[in-house]
Symmetry: D2
Subunit: 197 residues, 4 copies
């Protein structure tokens, strides 16, 4: 079982800060929540008994969103740096239909920049005719072509733009743009470094 | 008891999206969490049983922060607008020491802009010598002087800057700047509109 | 003639920082711009002779946007605060068609938060039938009804939502939502505080 | 000579939009600038004659920052994608003291994400004792170790943290953290992919 990291603040501290920010006193908050003022005190000092349903009611009463009441983890960086050795890379098969389309080697990540997802991506299909599109994703992506002749298709999958990019090429894909990678016909597998952020 | 608003997405949907974004499959996720793959499926399809402790473990396993897994409420706006009638303004006494220093009339708020906190503020103390500082807060603040001669002090409370501002004046206070309002000596109470954002 | 405020950095410093950030040396930059390396040095040390056309070419060569090369002013705040006395409020007539629809009393502004535009708005038309819509704007807006019975219409101007809001009411309008204010039929002019941010 | 890209809007359009946003009419703006209303019209319709000094005065009069008046370029993406072939990578020698410390192969960039600077970095020094620190920079950085045994030092250069990272390792460096790369003693040069964003 994993050990969860420490939090920067407790839920109780976040709740209290919000309550005070909107100038609501303890009694009014207790009344709106349907609890006693003592229960409010317990909640703000020790939020261990808090459930998600209760948190949702509290956010509603405090006129705020749920993420605004949710604390951050303490940083997982060591002096601003985090590294990962190759033996620790999780390796995932990415299927599209019946095909092992990509193999994902997951590189270093950090909770402090959750959108950063760096991957060493093995491109297993060597036929642009068999390209399978994704639907685009919410992140910027920059790719370096490390091995093989990479064939990129993007845009409308019925009528895509496309280009062949030899080893050493690099490209950027904006958020939301559908795209897919193969290698050129019959050229064997390829490898790219893909950084999503 | 308040009825909590609907969520834009479920926790389960947020968890699944994150898991897929980092290319982790269900089995690896189940293993890391110490549950069965069927329990992962249940969690992602129906997150009702989720506790805060479990959510914290999940965020840790998925290498992300808690707010990133926390859904937003659906908007509380009606066609982009939300209004509040004066009879619905919560009224709160704001004490500093033994004094009813301010009276807060809380104006309209919306969950879609949680940092927006508009107040009609009654300034009850009419003696700058009795000014009581706050410690600054995390929001921008803009104030319009509606009634009375407002006396503003700010900065270092031992050696503050200060100015008297007649009705019709306005001022801006940057985040983190300690400040306090009274009216001028013996002039009776005042009123300001204070918008925090 | 106005005296322009000082800049946090010069254009030359911004250009040099960008050039170094993308690992371009002075000679390569000079070649791409069609100038000599000495002219690059002069440009980076003393950007006084820079024209907008030249700045545009430079941004293009450095693969960046124009705002990224444009410096900020030093702050116009005094210890984090800026105030404006009522006699210094610019007063502007806002016409819609032939009507003096609003009168704008412009309250305090600061360069450090350019989107903040606080107004004391006189609502001159007392007939909701004569309401003239704006097309929405890019800012959040929160309004406090200070005098008169304010009539708000918003959304589709052919088929608007509407509400009458007495003195002491407040409302929020999201960015991009077309809206308009009058007072109720025959009730005379009104006044609101409008904060755009 | 480079051809500068088209702008999304003109400076004149940005100036007019700001002027209208703060409810300033043409005459008041002309008076504050010390020009005639006709010159304001010319400026807003055809900003070609604008100098940086004039732009600075205008920003001051309009109570805004310079970047707020500065237009963006039209996108340099083709359907959301931009790529660069390896023969088009600018190659720059990066000296520290007398040493050719790094060789930078500059990968694809886009004006729409100016902070994104992807590099193929050749690490020329194979002795951690000769490591030369940078002072940290304003961007997030993620690195993949492509060739050689990379030796990373970071933090306080008098008393750094350090680690050796074999081919296939990856690491993240937060903004502002001083750091430096060599390869291990006597192991020859190395190569990494470095993505700054």
């Amino acid at each position: 079982m994993t050990i969860a990291p420490a939090l920067e603040e407790t839920y109780g501290q976040k709740i209290r800060a919000r309550r005070e920010h909107i100038k609501m006193d303890r009694d009014a908050f207790a009344g709106a929540l349907g609890v006693t003022p003592d229960e409010v005190t317990a909640l703000e000092e020790n939020s261990g008994v808090l459930t998600l349903d209760r948190l949702t009611s509290i956010a509603s009463v405090l006129g705020t969103s749920l993420p605004e009441l949710t604390p951050e983890f303490v940083s997982d960086l060591d002096g601003g740096v985090r590294y990962q050795l190759p033996g620790d890379n999780p390796v995932i098969e990415g299927h599209r239909g019946d095909t092992e389309y990509y193999t994902y080697n997951c590189l270093v990540r950090t909770r402090t920049v959750p959108k950063l997802v760096p991957l060493l991506l093995e491109v297993n299909v060597d036929d642009p005719e068999k390209a399978a599109f994704n639907v685009g994703h919410d992140a910027h992506e920059v790719i370096y072509c490390m091995e093989g002749d990479i064939h990129l298709k993007w845009g409308d999958k019925e009528n895509p733009k496309e280009v062949t990019l030899p080893q050493g090429s690099s490209f950027y894909i904006a958020p939301g743009v559908p795209h897919t990678l193969t290698t050129t016909k019959g050229s064997g597998p390829g490898k790219v470094i893909s950084i999503n952020f």
